[in-house]
């Protein structure tokens, strides 16, 4: 995708399983301003489809990138922006 963005906040939910990654992301999201970018680091293999589903249902959530990083363990990085809702 090669999107340019700067990360406002990083949320580490490595090791946590459903529903906590999305639940905690929402909590962090509430504290952000429009245009801010949240990076969520998860090891839950369900994180990608779940974050897609979250973004699909919540207008203010837009996925900028989903990157899989190998770092001893697989980390599913979800980069989401808080966008302006009309």
């Amino acid at each position: 995708m090669g999107t340019e963005y700067s990360i406002t906040e990083t949320l580490d939910v490595k090791g946590e399983s459903c529903p906590m990654p999305v639940v905690k992301a929402k909590k962090a999201f509430d504290g952000l301003e429009e245009g801010d970018v949240l990076e969520v680091l998860a090891t839950d293999p369900g994180a990608f489809p779940d974050f897609e589903a979250w973004a699909n249902r919540v207008e203010a959530v837009e996925i900028l990138e989903q990157i899989e990083r190998q770092n001893g363990e697989t980390v599913y990085v979800n980069v989401v922006e808080k966008v302006v809702v009309e």
Binding site: S17, M20, V22, K26, W54
Partner: protein, 191 residues
């Protein structure tokens, strides 16, 4: 609701003009829009089971739907009440009998102590996998505005008093309340 004939305020007997008809349709559309209301999504779950495994799905779905910004109600009835019970919620057990997914035949599962053993196995897995506990999920639900309701009739049937429930639980509601919520909900589930 406006049911006035357009002719009433014009000259009696004449056909309503196109402008009058358009105006009337506008008003009706506004009323319909107001009735259909907002885009607020709603979910209602009826939670009837008090075993450890059956306590999870309603709480997981509710906390997730709340993260979606949905308005969520869980109506607890029968053994579902145990999930909200201050003491019993700490001791929810897995049932070994009638659960063919457990690695023990039913004949053995019926032996006293087997439920506790199965529960201990599950709890150690929950801890190892860092799965949220029932208590954590209840906290998340209450924090995120999920309404946890306790059915009055079954509360009486089980001999539970208002003070037996976790703080934040809505007590003293019945089937009519559940149906009222379900009628406006986009998702309704019985667990």
């Amino acid at each position: 609701m406006s049911t006035d004939a357009p002719a009433a305020d014009g000259d009696a007997g004449s056909e309503p003009t196109m402008a009058d008809q358009i105006e009337e349709l506008r008003e009706e559309l506004a009323e319909v829009k107001a009735a259909v209301g907002d885009d607020q999504k709603r979910m209602v779950i009826i939670s009837t089971k008090g075993t450890l495994d059956m306590a999870y799905p309603p709480l997981i779905l509710a906390s997730t739907a709340a993260a979606f910004g949905w308005d969520v109600t869980i109506f607890h009835t029968f053994w579902g009440l145990d999930i909200l019970h201050k003491e019993k919620t700490k001791g929810l057990k897995l049932s070994a009998v009638g659960n063919p997914s457990l690695p023990m035949p039913n004949l053995l599962a019926a032996i006293p102590g087997m439920d506790s053993m199965a529960t201990r196995m599950m709890k150690s897995r929950i801890e190892k996998n860092k799965t949220a506990t029932i208590q954590e999920l209840i906290d998340v639900c209450l924090e995120s505005g999920v309404e946890l309701q306790a059915c009055q009739m079954t509360q009486d049937l089980m001999g539970y008093g208002e003070d037996d429930f976790i703080d934040g639980v809505t007590v003293g509601v019945g089937a009519a309340t559940a149906i009222d919520r379900m009628a406006d909900a986009d998702v309704q589930l019985l667990v």
